[in-house]
Symmetry: C2
């Protein structure tokens, strides 16, 4: 499946939760499958912190498939022969939507640290504008994992009539200090990296060598995406063959993995975008804007499906279960399953065979 990215530009302003205005703005997105005549087969897909709108297929001339390619396609769990999937890039991301490195109208200078803080609520609000511009006023389902799952839940609360089904994986109702702590490593490491220059770096400055600060932050990130047991299985106490056990900087396999992956990531992800998206995750709280979590949840009219992973050390299963229990008590429609896995948080990106049938059943029931 060869995929193209679309860019939707909006001329009307986006009113942000902070009271600030983003204008003009744009959203990058992709679509998979074909929309039917009554537009009743539309699914919205929301991505996680390090993801993008590129969820499925490959770009012309490239080989790397989208982040949920195993789940999306002809006959797959999210069946492109039946559904029309819109996968959008969040506001603030460096992959095509308006971001801190976008020009701050009316100047041609990037916003950098003058970019307004955006929240999960704002990301969702922007996607509502996109749907509206595409003439889509109702969705079959909204699906997302991690930060994508936050967006799915925020849609459910803020726009109770928008979707029949909400599927949220490996997510939460409000980000806990544990996760804010992990993010803090990235925030401080980026800010303190001299090459970050308080946001005044050249565009593409890090393509060749990456940015140490972002790479450092990602080491903490990778810990939280895995689990103690998955690391045992993946790395054990294996030592990098050429490194000596008694060399101070000799490395265990887990250390090489961290170095390699985080350095690569810092070459492709913009550090300002990272700071802003992490801020959106930190400030995520379904309660904000309502009297209580109970009042927020009570607004939901969609069927909500919550999927957690046993060994998720970033967003713990009990956080999803809390939403489920609240909805059940209210007599709202909710299903919850905790998947047996030792892969950690990243299971939602990796162990697709453990939950693809659940998603298929929800969508095709």
């Amino acid at each position: 499946m060869i995929i193209e990215t679309h860019i939707k530009q909006f001329s009307s302003p986006l009113y942000l939760e902070s009271g600030r205005i983003l204008e003009p703005y744009q959203i990058a997105y992709e679509t998979y499958g074909t929309i039917n005549s009554d537009k009743s087969n539309v699914i919205l897909l929301c991505h996680a912190l390090s993801g993008s709108h590129h969820a499925s297929g490959t770009y012309d001339g490239e080989t790397k498939a989208g982040w949920w390619n195993g789940l999306i396609g002809d006959g797959k769990a999210i069946d492109t022969s039946k559904f029309f999937i819109i996968s959008t890039n969040v506001i603030g991301s460096c992959f095509g939507s308006t971001s801190p490195m976008s020009e701050q109208y009316p100047s041609s200078e990037p916003y950098r640290l003058k970019f307004p803080v955006v929240t999960i609520k704002d990301m969702v609000h922007a996607q509502i504008q996109l749907l509206s511009d595409l003439g889509i006023y109702h969705l079959k389902a909204i699906i997302g994992g991690s930060m994508g799952g936050m967006q799915a839940l925020q849609f459910a609360v803020d726009y109770p009539n928008i979707a029949d089904e909400i599927i949220s994986l490996a997510s939460t109702y409000a980000t806990r200090p544990w996760t804010i702590g992990f993010n803090k490593v990235a925030v401080e490491a980026i800010r303190k990296d001299p090459r970050f220059m308080n946001g005044h770096y050249e565009k593409d400055a890090f393509i060749e060598n990456g940015l140490d600060g972002l790479a450092l932050g990602r080491i903490a990130g990778h810990i939280s995406y895995l689990s103690p047991d998955s690391m045992d299985n993946k790395f054990g106490r294996n030592y990098v063959a050429k490194d000596g056990l008694f060399e101070l900087f000799g490395r265990y396999e887990v250390e090489r993995y961290m170095e390699y992956n985080t350095n690569n990531f810092s070459k492709i992800f913009d550090p300002l975008s990272y700071l802003y998206i992490v801020k959106a995750i930190n400030t995520f709280n379904l309660t904000r804007g309502y009297d209580s979590l109970y009042q927020a949840i009570l607004r939901i009219k969609s069927k909500v499906h919550l999927i957690s992973f046993d060994s998720d050390y970033l967003f713990f299963p009990k956080e999803m279960e809390h939403i489920h229990n609240m909805m059940k008590r209210n007599g709202q429609y909710s299903t919850y399953i905790n998947i047996d896995s030792n892969y950690g948080h990243d299971a939602f990106l990796v162990e697709l065979e453990k939950f693809d049938y659940i998603i298929k059943n929800i969508l095709e029931d």
Copy 2:
């Protein structure tokens, strides 16, 4: 209790596990209580990564008590009216024992990165030399938590006849990649900090402003020392009053805590020492030097007492339980208790009332 630090200098070399030699070397230590005539009341205390030999009492003119002051004293769990406690500073530490900032004989220049890698086995070996020099050939008990608990277990394996009782808290039989991952943040952050200058910084260079790299590494450390629930209790989602929710660098309480504590730590702890001690933790593996973990454990003759904490996210309870089960199967004497706590790894330094009676019972039985 006013305490003084002693320094013991050794003229004979310390043969290290790496094959390298440390010469000359010295160990800083403190003692509490009075040794009896037959030297049968001696307890050895081993400290953790960020600790020192200053476990109890206060120095003349200071107010801050040692790290286990609540546990050590007249009538306390480790009763100074009954026992003579020797608390030593590990080789590599910046608090008085020979370290990377010590002069490399015969020059007067510090070792810096030429300091040999030291292991938990080496730390224990050095303490054996100290005991020997003090004319002490048998101990009532060896006690330690975290890295101190590693030392206690390494004593049990390497020197089966040295102690009657081994008490190891919040520790493990071998460091897992999960923990090595957390340590990796510190290793990379220190190395990449320009002010670290590959170890060629001036002595006391960081007393005033600290070292960002070490502070960054400690943020990851603090995450691993707490737990998701303890962070909920300690910080919740509280925001620092003067910071705005929609300011990019506005902070949650958990973020302020991380900033404050880690920056302070980086003013008092030497970054080279940190790198070497972290290396000792990473390379800790009771199996090394023996055919298998089973063969290593089988050597133990002391009574071993293992105490874990339910919510320890650094060294998980099952790691201690694994040792206990192995010893039980072998018919060796071992007790194991998993303390109900949501404080995380740091419980061994904080929730003393949850296990002080256990230690008292072991020592006075």
